[in-house]
């Protein structure tokens, strides 16, 4: 077998690169010098040029158009399916313990208190059928920042698009929508929400619906209390979080013997049919249950909800002491 001279072996890589249009100027010069005196390499060079021509023709030849169209069509339908299933989530520390936030293409779908836990497996999200959950801190990080601002009292609204698909029923969705309407710094009752969804007697069902609220804080179920003023319950057994959240919004609460309640006497009152807010002693308000009332932590909160001071009790002239 004929052995190639050392010089030819050394230049082979560059020769192939130059012949196939894949080399810079200096290399080209070196190769041209070499093939100027080496006939064998000149032959190789020519051969690689020819191969490059065939490669170029192959590159320009049409692809399997039919297969590509078919693949694209199937892709579109698989993408649509994935879009509807995909939820991005992140787990973040907060003053209320670890919180998982998840969102879909349509909006925020889950805010979950994880307490000390951090794992996805302990989340409700891991148990929902038809959902592909994907950890993606970047995607939900902005939401988390806003939530922190809210928890630190630097923000009074979370204007997030919501995806209510993790709600368990249309009734629960209706309850959630009614709950969203309760203003910041105000509280209403389960009975009031039952009225809002058109079924005054469904008080327990409302309480159950809010117990499983997939979007606490954003859908402010912490602003819903018993008709007696008792805080009742929150997200299962997390009543202290409810107090904390109401505290952030300036709602005064009391703890007497194990009963936690709002300090009703220290709050402004609105009858659900009125457009004015009153002092708690106005007319018959003091003796009524909260079923048809909304309480406000401050005049500012009542007025930012679009209410005017009552012309009889004049809360603007006789404000409650802070």
């Amino acid at each position: 077998m004929k052995v190639k001279p050392q010089a030819c072996l050394k230049i082979e890589v560059d020769l192939v690169a130059v012949a196939t249009g894949d080399a810079e100027g200096a290399v080209r010069g070196r190769v041209e010098d070499h093939i100027g005196f080496c006939a064998a390499c000149r032959g190789d060079f020519q051969r690689y040029r020819e191969i490059d021509g065939v490669v170029g023709a192959l590159r320009r030849s049409p692809a399997d158009g039919e297969g590509a169209v078919r693949a694209r069509e199937t892709l579109e339908s698989r993408l649509a399916d994935l879009r509807s299933r995909l939820m991005m989530y992140g787990v973040f520390p907060s003053p209320l313990g670890n919180i998982l936030i998840a969102r879909s293409e349509h909006g925020v779908s889950l805010v979950e208190y994880l307490g000390e836990r951090t794992g996805f497996k302990s989340s409700r999200l891991s148990q929902v059928g038809g959902v592909e959950a994907q950890e993606d801190g970047v995607e939900v990080e902005a939401l988390y920042r806003e939530l922190l601002d809210y928890l630190h009292g630097k923000r009074t609204r979370l204007e997030w698009p919501l995806d209510l698909r993790l709600a368990r029923s249309d009734f629960q969705r209706a309850v959630m929508k009614a709950t969203v309407a309760i203003p910041y710094g105000a509280v209403a009752s389960y009975a009031g929400i039952a009225s809002d969804v058109g079924n005054r007697s469904a008080v327990r069902a409302v309480a159950q619906a809010l117990r499983w609220n997939p979007l606490p804080i954003v859908v402010p179920c912490h602003r819903v209390i018993g008709s007696s003023g008792s805080l009742t319950g929150y997200a299962g057994d997390k009543l202290s979080l409810k107090m904390q959240l109401l505290g952030v919004e300036g709602v005064p609460t009391l703890t007497a013997h194990r009963d936690r309640r709002v300090a009703r006497d220290a709050m402004y009152v609105r009858d659900r049919h009125e457009v004015e807010y009153c002092l708690p002693i106005c007319g018959s308000l003091a003796s009524r249950t909260l079923a048809d009332l909304t309480l406000f932590a401050s005049r500012e909160r009542a007025e930012s909800a679009g209410l005017a001071p009552c012309s009889a009790c004049r809360p603007d002239l006789h404000p409650l002491s802070a």
């Binding site: 490669v55 023709a57 030849s61 692809a63 590509a68 579109e76 994935l82 902005a142």
Partner: protein
């Protein structure tokens, strides 16, 4: 909130080329269909994390290459693909019957040789010579350096040359 540009524009801009690439490295339309779908589904899951200055095309090629490598991880599968892949009949060069016959023959041999190359060489050759990716990008797709990527292409060309020994080749425009 979601992604700088709508994902549809990414699909529209790159799907056909990624499909062509996968068709070339797998030699089978059905595998190219599956892998191209998988490539874009993966991309969809991750594209929100892309920085605005990211090279989307190179990124998609890297995903497609990665999937191809996993797909062919079993060497057996590759051999089966190789054995069954038929040389496609396509429209040929219009430069007269002789040139046409030469080209058809050369292309058949070239495709057969490329199909028989080790995967890294086949991928590097296809990315460089068919899709014009630079060696840095090819190296990233194959988890190797740009120099190694270049060496893979060189080895591929060398083998192609050997396989075409004794065959007359048509004179054609260079590839670039």
């Amino acid at each position: 909130m979601m992604g700088a540009q709508p994902f549809e524009t990414i699909v529209t801009a790159h799907h056909a080329e990624i499909f062509r690439y996968l068709r070339r490295v797998t030699s089978r339309t059905s595998e190219a269909e599956d892998l191209s779908q998988e490539t874009f589904l993966r991309a969809y899951r991750a594209y929100r994390t892309l920085t605005p200055e990211a090279n989307v095309r190179a990124w998609l090629f890297a995903i497609a290459t990665n999937l191809t490598r996993n797909h062919f991880r079993s060497e057996k599968r590759r051999r089966v693909a190789y054995a069954f892949a038929a040389v496609e009949q396509r429209d040929t060069d219009p430069d007269g019957p002789e040139a046409e016959a030469l080209f058809t023959e050369a292309r058949g041999l070239l495709e057969t040789t490329v199909r028989g190359l080790p995967l890294k060489q086949r991928v590097a050759f296809t990315l460089r010579k068919m899709h014009d990716l630079d060696y840095e990008t090819i190296g990233r797709s194959l988890d190797c350096s740009a120099e190694s990527a270049r060496a893979h292409v060189f080895q591929a060309l060398r083998k192609i040359r050997v396989s075409l020994n004794g065959h007359q080749l048509p004179q054609m425009e260079p590839s670039r």
